[in-house]
Symmetry: C2
Subunit: 492 residues, 2 copies
C-alpha cells in the first residue's frame, strides 16, 4: 500500500471510467489534522464529503506528533500568559525568517491566527493556559505555551518582537498530538462525515480539460473509483518515509538519520499531485534535529566543526543548528563545554556521546583531532568577546555568553553521522492561499488541493522552521481548502 | 568546444597517461577575474603557474560585465565619500540576507574587503572617488560607488546599517568590466605567467588516491595532457549558457528570458568538478533581472500579480523583484502607476510594454483582466497605509510610499514571459574558505579548487544577491585559492 519508489502514478482518464463506484462533492485523502479540518469545513459549507484514509482509523502523523501548533498574533493563551503578540509581529518574524513565496497567504495566516486558535478550541482541541519558560524540544506534560523557533535568535530578534508561539495540546507523553486529534476525529464522526479506512488512493482521475474529478481507491479486496464532483484534497502527509525521494532530494541525510513519521508518509500525496501536473517546492528542505538542549546551560557551550571553527550560533532553534551540522565538513561537529556548565544533553533520541574530558584546550584540540591551533584560536576569540557580552561573528545572545575558561573541558560528539538526527521533510506540492495545487508556473489546477505535509511548508528549509509550523498552518490551510473546495468564501 | 549537454566528462586515470605534454605547479582553467587573481597570487607565492583559456585571450565574462565589485567594510572609496562602513555591518548584512553556509568565510571576506580593494588598485584596476546616489542597474559612465543590493530594504535595514558597496571600475559603457580586466591581464603577462589560449580543458586527471593531478586540453589541432603538480583551479565561469543544465535546474526561466554571459559559460567548469566527485550548491539559484527602475520614481508604483495582489516590496533590488515575478501565477505581473509618478521604465533590455491608461482603478482592473474587486481592494489598502507612511505587509520604505490616487492610471506589463528578463545563475561547485572544491559531504578534494562563477555564489538565490557579488567575492576567493594552491598562507 505504500509507494516504495518515486514513480509518479498514471493520471487516469475520466472517459475511461465505465462506472463510478461512489460519488461525493469533496474527497479528502488522509485524516490527519489538515484532512480533518478540510473535511469539517467542506461539510459545514454544505458539501458532501468523503474521507479516504489508508490506516484503519484517523489521526495520521499528527496524532503521533508532539502536538505543537505554531499560532500567535494574540491568541487567548498568549493573552492569558501576559504576551501582547500581534499579527504584525508574527508576520514580520515569518517574513524575515522564511522569505515566503506567498506573503499574502502568510499575512492571512497571521491575521487569522487568534481566531483560528479559538476555532480549534471550539472543536474541543484542549489547550491549557500554562507556559513553559525554559528550553525544550518537546514537553511530556500538558503545559501549553513555549518558544519553539528562532524568534529570539539574531537577526530575527531585531526584526520582530519575540513571543512564544508554540501552542501544545493538553496531552501527555511524546505523542501528545493524539489529544488534539481525538476531538477532531470525534467531530467528523458526530457530524456524519463518511470515511473509508484501510483505503489507499492509488491514482487521480481527470477529465479532458485536466480538471481532477475523482480517484482510484485500492482496498484489501477490491479497487474502486470514486467521483469527486467539486474537488480532491490531498492531505496524505509528507514524503519522509520514501527512501527514493529522500535519496534524490536530500542526499546528505545519510544512513544514520531517521525519519519522524508513520509508514504512510511515503510521498504518495506528492506523487499523486505530480501526476496531475502539480509543481513542488522546497523538496530539499528538511529539519534534522538532534538538539543539544535541554538543559539550557549547554547553550552556553560552543559548537565547532572539523576545522575547529564555530559555524552557527548555539542559541538557534535545534532544527536550524542540526541543518548547519548536516552541511559541515564530513558532517562532524562537537559541543564544547567547560566544568562550570558541564551537563549531559537530555536528548534520549540523539544519543550524543561524551568524547572525553581534558585539562587544557590544547589537549582537547588534539584529542578531537582538530587542526593544531584551530580550537585554541576559536576559543580565545570567543572567550575574549564573551567576557564583554559579545559574539561579533555569530551573534549569540548575551544571556548565553560566558567565557569557557573553567577546566576541565569536555566535548560531546554531535556529528551528523554519529548522533541520531531525526528528520522531517519540508517539501511538497506548491499551493496557493486556499491550498489550491499549483502548476510549476503557479497556475491553479482545477479540482485539486493539497494541505498539511503533502504541501510545501511555509519555511523552505529547516533553518527557518519552528516547532508547530506543521500543525499550525496545516490546520489553518486545511480549513481554507475545505471551504474553497466547497465553493464557500473564507471566514474564520 | 562547449558542453552542449549536462554530461559529466570522464575523470581520467593518471596511470593511463603515458607521457605528460607539459607540467606546472598550479593550473588555472579560465582567465576571467577569479582566474587572473588566482594566477597572480599563486605565481607570486612561488608556484609555476599555467593558465588554460578557451578564448583567444583573457577577460572572460568579467570583461563583458558592468564591472561592479561588491566590497565594503570601509574601503578607500567608501571613506572618501564619507561612509563609515565597517566589516561588522557588512558581515551582518550578508549574514542576514544570505544565511550563508560558511559564516567564517563570509566574515573573512568582509574583514579583508578594504585591504582587498587596495590590492585591486595596486594591480592597476581603476576606481574613482565618485558616487552615484540614485537608483540604477548599471552605470554607463565611470562613477564608482553605488547602492546595488537590498541593504536599504526591510528587514535587512533593521539588521545592518546600509552603506553603498557596489564599486564600479572606471570604465565606460555597458561592458565596463573590461577596464578592470585589462590591468589584471597585463599584470599576468608582465610577470611572465604563461597562458595557453584557444585551449579547452575537456577532462580532469586524478591519481589512484583521488587527488587531481592534471588536465586534458583540446586545442584546434591536438589534444594534450598537462600535469599540475600542486593543484588545478577551476575558474571557468557559470553554467548560464548550458541549456540542459538550465532546463534541469531552473525550469521556470522559460523561453523568453535570456542568459547574461559569454558562450564559454556553458557549465564545463561545474561538470569538470562533478567528474572529480565535487558537490554543488544553489544550483536552483538565479537572478532574473528586468528592473522597473530607473527612473527611481517608478518605485513609488506598486507591482501586482494575476490575483491583483502585491507580492514583493517594490524598493527591492531588481534581482529580488525579478525572482518574485518569476514565481507568480503564470509568471504575470504589472507595474501600476498614477499620473503623478508616470514615466517609462528606462530599461532598454527588459522592454516592459505600456498596456494602457485608465481614468479609474475599476477600469484598470478590468483592462488588465484581474479578478473583480481585487485591484480595487489592493490599492485602497495600499493608499490608506501609504498616506500614513506605512506598508504593514511588505514594508516598502517610507521614501517610496505615496497614495496612487491621481488619475489617469497606467500599467506596464512586466510579466516574466512578456518582458525580457536577463539572468545570471548563482549555483556552482561547493567550496571551502580557500576555494577548495568540496565533496557533497563538504570534505576537500585534494588538488582541486573552484572560484568565480564555477563555484556557488555566497547568495544562494537571486532574492539575496547584490550587483558585484560575482566580481567581489570572485576576485577575493580567487586570490585565496591561488595562495592556498601554491602552499602559502593567506595574507591580504
Amino acid at each position: 500500500m505504500t509507494a516504495a519508489t518515486d514513480r509518479v502514478p498514471d493520471l487516469l482518464d475520466a472517459a475511461a471510467i465505465g462506472q463510478w463506484d461512489r460519488e461525493c462533492d469533496v474527497l479528502v485523502i488522509g485524516q490527519g489534522v489538515a484532512g480533518s479540518c478540510a473535511a469539517l469545513e467542506a461539510h459545514r459549507a454544505g458539501a458532501e464529503v468523503l474521507i479516504v484514509e489508508r490506516a484503519s482509523g484517523g489521526g495520521g502523523a499528527s496524532a503521533m506528533s508532539s502536538g505543537i501548533y505554531y499560532l500567535g498574533g494574540g491568541t487567548a493563551v498568549q493573552k492569558a500568559m501576559g504576551y501582547d503578540d500581534t499579527p504584525d509581529e508574527m508576520a514580520n518574524f515569518i517574513m524575515a525568517s522564511c522569505d515566503p513565496l506567498d506573503p499574502q497567504a502568510v499575512r492571512q495566516f497571521c491575521d487569522d491566527s487568534p481566531a483560528h486558535f479559538d476555532w480549534l478550541e471550539e472543536q474541543g482541541v484542549p489547550f491549557e493556559r500554562t507556559e513553559f519558560k525554559g528550553k525544550a524540544v518537546y514537553l511530556l506534560d500538558t503545559t501549553c505555551l513555549m518558544s519553539t523557533g528562532n524568534e529570539k535568535v539574531w537577526p530575527y530578534k531585531l526584526v520582530a518582537r519575540p513571543a512564544p508561539r508554540g501552542h501544545k495540546v493538553a496531552g501527555e507523553g511524546e505523542n501528545a498530538g493524539h489529544a488534539g486529534m481525538a476531538p477532531l476525529l470525534a467531530r467528523c464522526e458526530a457530524e456524519g462525515i463518511p470515511a473509508m479506512y484501510d483505503s489507499a488512493v492509488t491514482a487521480l482521475v481527470a477529465d479532458a480539460s485536466g480538471r481532477v474529478v475523482g480517484v482510484r481507491v485500492k482496498q484489501s479486496d477490491r479497487t474502486i473509483h470514486v467521483k469527486a464532483r467539486r474537488a480532491v484534497i490531498i492531505a496524505a502527509g509528507s514524503y519522509n518515509m520514501n527512501r527514493d525521494m529522500i535519496a534524490k532530494n536530500l542526499p546528505l541525510l545519510g544512513e544514520t538519520s531517521e525519519p519522524l513519521g508513520i509508514p504512510s508518509n511515503d510521498g504518495m500525496g506528492v506523487l499523486l499531485g505530480l501526476s496531475a501536473g502539480a509543481g513542488t517546492s522546497a523538496m530539499d528542505g528538511v529539519i534534522p534535529t538532534g538538539s543539544i538542549y535541554p538543559p539550557a546551560q549547554l547553550i552556553k557551550g560552543i559548537v565547532v566543526n572539523k576545522r575547529g571553527e564555530r559555524f552557527v550560533t548555539e542559541d538557534s532553534y535545534h532544527g536550524r543548528l542540526g541543518n548547519f551540522v548536516m552541511e559541515q565538513p564530513d558532517q562532524k561537529a562537537w559541543l564544547i563545554l567547560d566544568s562550570e556548565i558541564f551537563a549531559y544533553p537530555e536528548n534520549p533520541f540523539a544519543r550524543h556521546q561524551l568524547v572525553d574530558g581534558w585539562e587544557t584546550i590544547e589537549e582537547m584540540e588534539a584529542g578531537l583531532g582538530l587542526p593544531t591551533g584551530s580550537l585554541v584560536k576559536t576559543m580565545a576569540e570567543y572567550n575574549t568577546a564573551a567576557a564583554e557580552g559579545k559574539d561579533p561573528v555569530l551573534h549569540k545572545s548575551a544571556e548565553w555568553l560566558k567565557p569557557l575558561d573553567q577546566p576541565p573541558y569536555a566535548a560531546f560528539d554531535i556529528s551528523f553521522d554519529r548522533s541520531t538526527y531525526l528528520y522531517i521533510t519540508l517539501g511538497g506540492l506548491k499551493t496557493g492561499p486556499n491550498g489550491e495545487c499549483l502548476t510549476p508556473r503557479a497556475e491553479p489546477i482545477p479540482g485539486l488541493y493539497a494541505v498539511g505535509a503533502s504541501a510545501a511548508h511555509i519555511p523552505r528549509n529547516g533553518k527557518a522552521y519552528a516547532s508547530g509550523m506543521s500543525l499550525g498552518p496545516g490546520s489553518y490551510f486545511g480549513r481554507r481548502a475545505g471551504r474553497h473546495a466547497a465553493g464557500a468564501n473564507w471566514a474564520t
